[in-house]
Symmetry: C2
Subunit: 413 residues, 2 copies
Amino acid sequence: MADLIPHADEPPTPESAGAAIPPPAPTPGGFPVVGMIGSGQLARMSVGPAAELGITLSVLSTDAFDSAALVAAHAPVGHHADLERVVEFAQHCDVITFDHEHVPDDVLDAVAELGVPMHPSPAALRYAQDKLAMRERLGELGIPCPQWARAESVSDVVEFGDRIGWPIVAKTPRGGYDGKGVRQIRSAEDARSQISEWFDGGAVLLEERVEFVRELAILVARSPSGQAAAWPVVETVQTDSICTEVLAPAPDLVPGLAAAITEAGLRVAGELEVTGVLAVELFEVVAADGTPAFVVNELAMRPHNSGHWTMDGAVTGQFEQHLRAVLDLPLGSPRPRDRWTVMANILGGEVEELYSSYRHVMARDPEIKVHLYGKSVRPGRKLGHVNVGGTHLASLRERARHAADYIQGVIDE
Amino acid sequence: MADLIPHADEPPTPESAGAAIPPPAPTPGGFPVVGMIGSGQLARMSVGPAAELGITLSVLSTDAFDSAALVAAHAPVGHHADLERVVEFAQHCDVITFDHEHVPDDVLDAVAELGVPMHPSPAALRYAQDKLAMRERLGELGIPCPQWARAESVSDVVEFGDRIGWPIVAKTPRGGYDGKGVRQIRSAEDARSQISEWFDGGAVLLEERVEFVRELAILVARSPSGQAAAWPVVETVQTDSICTEVLAPAPDLVPGLAAAITEAGLRVAGELEVTGVLAVELFEVVAADGTPAFVVNELAMRPHNSGHWTMDGAVTGQFEQHLRAVLDLPLGSPRPRDRWTVMANILGGEVEELYSSYRHVMARDPEIKVHLYGKSVRPGRKLGHVNVGGTHLASLRERARHAADYIQGVIDE
């Protein structure tokens, strides 16, 4: 199962045993230090908003050449599973938050003992780390979910499939992302051949395969004092289990369903006591009575791909809002700036040199906002995204798709 | 005259003689390194846009605790007048640009010899550094200017004042900013007592005191290949010679005058071969025939206070546009996002702790965008600004003014 978990079980990198972490340079005027564990694109995109807010951002980086480490003024190298290094890092911070969900429990416990607040708290974070815990809790709250079961063995899988009908979906409770750690199981034979070894790592989550109309997401922010704000419900388009496009707001969404989803997002944030940004990924489905409805697919407790559109498309972007929330600052307005904003992800293709195609895209469309993550190209890797806002959805989708495809080398002119 | 020039003539700081400058970590994919000389708020506000664009930004910082040094991943310490240090810095950069106009000629020459492109070029920058050169050149181009003269002595001042009428305005050609290096001279006696020692530094620029209706500014960007883009003409409000408020676009500006000013801004950028952002500060005046007209007051060849509104109020902000321009990337759209955007500067007051008032402002107005520069409080010092956009100008002005005043401690509730 190690390949399913990109972060949690890796040994500390040699750099983690490096020099002592110097404190970040203080920002005058009584401004706090936010420590972010993890140095991917979410930490990177927090750098600009932190500078604008006057907040000192310190990023614990797995590697000195990580996405965020390239642009953050204070990016000490250390592995998120290296307890001593994380504690050393946290000592310089007024609050700790996260670029990903993969910090092990013993490390979270050690930071808690130190007395540095963590947002989200380990208690809340558990529901984003462990999909079985999430399903149990959402079920208690009456939040619509797919039919699900905990499986301890292949025979549990067979029992579930026979009961609700094949195919079913099996998920590792921890560590999955972008389609990894998720398998469609069509039969008892599939269960034996494909996931029997998953049980070496513990229980497995089983879910019905949801017949959905489309995928949606609701993004909310909640502060420790309980203030909350929600951006509009968006439609997310997945390609090979990776989010490739977001339409904000979700087109033709029935107002009652939009309200129900927003209420569910705010309620999950409140009941789970989430602090910071919470993304709830959902399926839009057709209820038994023929009306539109939803079930919750996944939770993430951090800025999320489904919210990248907010960087250019809302008065307050998700990275600024996350910083405000984890510092218990008053939240900013989530009001959209345009009738429609479309986000398209730039995925790695075959071409390693991106600068030429990027110039082309800028020349073709002066309104396209290009966001790059400073990552080397690997096929399928998220390298950046584009946003574009305006009034004609079909045209915006074409423009965003063209720009993303062109940068990743899918099309040439 | 040393107090008039905050940068140029200071000796190198001890840190300048420090360790060798390591190269910045490269951004994969063929992305360039922009070196910015100077580490004030303009460099600071370039950090976020550079990260988004995937550009590596390196900032030559006078001090490790300077505004930009607090937030830039690569901010080697070195003084802009330390020729060897600047050359060492420039060797790691694909292009050099500036946070201020105070780099001495010999340093510019040395970078030019190294073959690293500078934007703006020293030839263009001269017209922003030297107000006498600027007046001569604009006069040649037929761009409307106040009546002016070069004075070599007090008797030249007296001759000019007697000819065009007292009072007149005297300016040091180099190093003035925010009202420093500018004096109103009411009489021959004034000239003798107030500015006779200025002539130790060379010639002085004399100008008529312009009876203006209001102050305006036009901000344009121009790339080395000649592409140019202009934001709308704005009104700037000065208090004690410091810009305190910007209204974008300038309210009730006669369309013909707006067009003439925009044309003049683009023409100055083109004729002077400016690369990067150019700010032209102007006075709106009433012509002899009673029609609205303008004269040029000052030029700045870098992002400018009159353009801070673009960070939230335009599709492409001035810091992103400056980076695009100096890299000869296609320029982004300068289209305003709102009917009106109002910017108010936050100036230092008596209170050193800003975080509490900042929380209050965020709570009062979730749509206010607060931008802070990470500077310690000194009375009158520019510490940050706020932007707010919408449809009702009077209300936006009240909200922006309240937020700025509250943070700087002018009002309390």
